[in-house]
């Protein structure tokens, strides 16, 4: 029996592939399934949740709102990647020297960071994270930056305020003032536009004519950043991590919380597919069974089912669901159950009932009654298999509806609070004003995946419809 079934499914797929829409649909579906499997293998569920729900701390080394790396193709420029230099892990280009001053407890720590900056655009941010160990007096730190052209900028010495102090280089006023006064002392009074940020002043190619916003080029080459720290006790020490944040990140970019979007995009795929397929399958099958039972037994059972269906058809589905989701913070399975409960008495009941009423009078049903087949046997072995095929295309075509429904709920902030889903990304993007601020990738990526899902099932549905209803073939 099962062997036959397999060959039946195989035959159906073979036939599906004779239609262009079937090929396209299956190709997209295979891609999405591949993506789901990849997501589940590479990024196990718990880890994904932890990464997605984790505080900003986890992603401190990521740029904020970075574009995906492939965006460069459209811009035509080499956009900066993130450069991380850490003295603790001895990254390439980092060297650290500790020299105790003879006769005192003072130790001099010198860390040198060498990095190449060969991009066509300025970095988005730059931070220096300090990890200091000290007893009483925090170390005094002096930062010196040597640009590729040989220009050396010395920043005033300052004391760390805490063991884990951070220098927010790109927004620090002290840094800005030092840089401005550096150029003034170098060229005399020249025209420096006021809107220039510390990063532009640091990485820009300075000329005697002035530094003008908009026309400023990036000075490419090897930068050398030196941290000289004076520590005041025997066991005190200092390490520091310099992060020069890029403007692109990974295959999907990052969001406002520096999280890589691919986590949610990847995990959104199995969730969307599972949700859509389960909801559609369970709803269709339950509708089928309920309608068949009603039409078979007739009388009070049938009337009751029909009246309930009519009431359900009047109830507005989405507002009802929104109401439920707004009052209870539901996880995805409860949402799924709610969706199923709200849609089992749908329009499908009516069409299935019409089919069953005609099949009920078929001679072979009468024959089955005669040789004593029970009601349930007739319903499940005689009627349902007969009306199942015409229902399958509808079932497949209904999947995107449920995928979009889940996305819509997440978009409205009513989805599962833990799961990273496509709708959640859209919600974040909307809250962060993504379109207003030009972060199109943030909205486009989940939208394209949603559309692909819809296309896949719609195409397969069309092709199946033509297989199951041969009369459509001529059209």
């Amino acid at each position: 029996m099962s062997k036959r079934m397999e060959s039946g499914i195989k035959a159906t797929i073979k036939e599906l592939l004779t239609y262009k829409s079937g090929v396209l649909g299956i190709a997209i579906l295979v891609f999405l399934i591949g993506l789901s499997i990849y997501a589940m293998v590479v990024l196990p569920y718990d880890q994904a949740i932890k990464l997605w729900r984790g505080s900003e701390g986890i992603w401190l080394n990521n740029p904020r709102n970075a574009l995906p790396e492939w965006w460069e193709i459209f811009v035509g420029k080499k956009l900066p990647r993130t450069i991380i230099l850490d003295s603790k892990t001895a990254t390439f280009g980092v060297s650290k020297a500790v020299t105790p001053v003879a006769g005192t407890n003072i130790r001099l720590v010198t860390i040198t960071y060498l990095f190449e900056f060969n991009y066509d655009d300025f970095p988005s941010e730059m931070n220096v994270f300090f990890y200091a160990k000290y007893q009483k007096d925090p170390p005094l730190v002096k930062i010196t930056l040597k640009k590729p052209g040989g220009d050396t900028i010395e920043f005033p010495r300052f004391a760390l305020k805490a063991p884990n102090d951070t220098l927010y280089y790109s927004i620090s006023n002290d840094v800005l003032n030092t840089l401005l006064s550096h150029y003034v002392s170098k060229y005399g009074k020249i025209n420096i536009s006021e809107k220039l940020s510390p990063l532009e002043l640091t990485f820009g190619k300075d000329t005697a004519e002035g530094l003008e916003k908009g026309t400023l080029d990036v000075e490419k080459g090897v930068y050398r950043l030196t941290i000289e720290a004076t520590c005041f006790s025997e066991d005190s020490d200092l390490d520091a991590r310099v992060v020069v944040y890029g403007k692109v990140y990974g295959p999907a970019g990052t969001d406002h919380l520096r999280r890589p979007l691919e986590i949610a995009l990847l995990w959104g795929t199995p969730i969307a597919l599972a949700f859509g397929l389960t909801a559609s399958l369970v709803t269709s099958l339950l509708q089928l069974i309920i309608a068949t039972i009603g039409a078979w037994y007739g009388g009070i059972i049938d009337s009751a089912i029909q009246r309930i269906t009519e009431i359900y058809l009047i109830l507005p589905f989405l507002p009802f669901l929104i109401l439920i989701a707004a009052f209870y913070k539901l996880d995805i399975w409860v949402i799924l159950a709610a969706v199923i409960v709200l849609s089992i008495f749908g329009a499908g009941i009516k069409s299935t009932r019409a089919l069953v009423l005609s099949i009920k009078e078929y001679p072979y049903i009468e024959a089955a009654k005669t040789y004593g087949a029970s009601n349930l046997r007739i319903i499940f072995l005689y009627i349902i298999p007969k009306i199942l095929p015409p229902i399958v295309p509808g079932l497949i075509s209904a999947v995107p509806g449920y995928v979009f429904l889940e996305a819509a709920l997440s978009f409205l902030g009513l989805g599962d609070p833990f799961l990273p889903t496509w709708g959640k990304i859209l919600n974040d993007a909307r809250n962060a004003g993504a379109l207003y601020r030009g972060y199109y990738y943030w909205v486009l990526e989940p939208s394209i995946l949603l559309m692909l899902t819809a296309f896949a099932f719609a195409f397969i549905g069309f092709a199946l419809d033509r297989i199951v209803n041969p009369r459509l073939r001529e059209m």
Binding site: R4, Y362, P363, Y364, E366, A367, A368, K369, T370, Y371, G372, A373, S374, R377, L381, Y382, P385, K386
Partner: protein, 322 residues
């Protein structure tokens, strides 16, 4: 020969919007063991309703369902629906349906379908039932490899054979054949008839053979019952019937059967079959009967025993006019 089935005063009336349809009206007959009783008549005379009444396959709009059906001396009319389903259907009486094409479930494999009654009635495991089904498919002349096919892969004759196998599989004593050959070509008809004969002799069955095709019955029938407007108007031995039908309606019926390459003028019966809602007063055939006289218009004729077991309902015999 002992009696397999005895029907007494069986009535089956339906309620319709226009009135009560007396589809089976006061019918009595006996079926002997190993005998084939053919029930012939025009379309709409109540043949199929009689079959349904016998196996208690009733539609929802039943008005009256009464009488006695004795099987092995027990009145099965007294059984509840559930008991009837368990004890009688397919155990004692099974049925081959009109139009085998439509009486097989298109989504079940033939073998499984044939095994269905066995699985339902005898609690036989699926494997054993399938093995038994293959045995019966062989018996009706279908290669057992067809057990794994779906009905649409079989020809009309093969489907008919499969349906016959389905009726045989639970070893019933009586089989109702409702137009078993009506949708088949003559060669296939002949094959099926020969098969039915062979099976009857091998298994010692009794047939109730319902058809409008008198030519086909002549091959198989031991006795013939003619139905007209819900009543049996004549029951005769087959040998007797085909040469000398008694009832005027039976006469006309025989005269309307075409014969090959003879110069016989085909006759027809003027008028239309009567309404079963308001049958004519007196003898129901009187508006179309060429011999009708006064009494026929007033009173319905009681059965007249021409000779043992041969019965006719016609005033001509009562009045000694024949």
């Amino acid at each position: 020969m002992s009696t397999a089935l005895s029907v007494k005063n069986l009535r089956l009336y339906f309620t319709t919007r226009k009135g009560v349809v007396k589809a089976v009206d006061n019918i009595s007959f006996d079926l002997k063991k190993g005998e084939t009783l053919a029930i012939v008549g025009e379309s709409g005379c109540g043949k199929s309703s009689l079959a349904k009444a016998l196996i208690r396959l009733l539609p929802r709009n039943v008005h009256t369902y009464s009488g006695e059906i004795l099987i092995d001396g027990n009145d099965v009319m007294k059984l509840s629906d559930e008991m009837f389903r368990r004890l009688i259907r397919w155990r004692k009486i099974s049925m081959v349906f009109q139009g085998a094409q439509n009486s097989l479930n298109p989504v079940l494999k033939v073998g499984f379908q044939v095994a269905e009654p066995l699985m339902i009635h005898n609690n036989v495991s699926r494997e054993d039932a399938l093995a038994e089904a293959k045995k019966y498919l062989r018996l009706v002349g279908i290669h057992e490899s067809f057990a794994d096919r779906y009905p649409f892969e079989l020809s009309g004759g093969m489907k008919q054979r499969a349906v016959i196998a389905m009726a045989l599989i639970t070893h019933p004593e009586i089989i109702i054949l409702d137009e078993p050959t009506s949708a088949l070509d003559v060669i296939t008809q002949a094959n099926i008839i020969n098969l039915l004969k062979k099976i009857k002799n091998e298994l010692g069955l009794s047939y109730i053979f319902i058809t409008h095709d008198i030519a086909v019955t002549s091959e198989l029938a031991d006795r013939v019952a003619v139905m007209y407007a819900g009543e049996i108007v004549e029951i005769s031995d087959a040998d007797e019937f085909y040469y000398r039908p008694k009832h005027p309606y039976a006469e006309k019926l025989m005269a309307s059967v075409p014969t090959l390459r003879t110069d016989k003028k085909l006759e027809f019966i003027p008028g239309a079959p009567p309404s079963l809602i308001n049958p004519p007063q007196g003898c129901r055939f009187n508006p179309r009967c060429p011999y009708a006289f006064e009494k026929c218009l007033k009173e319905s004729p009681p059965p007249y025993e021409v000779k043992s077991g041969n019965i006719v309902r016609c005033w001509l015999y009562h009045e000694g006019k024949r």
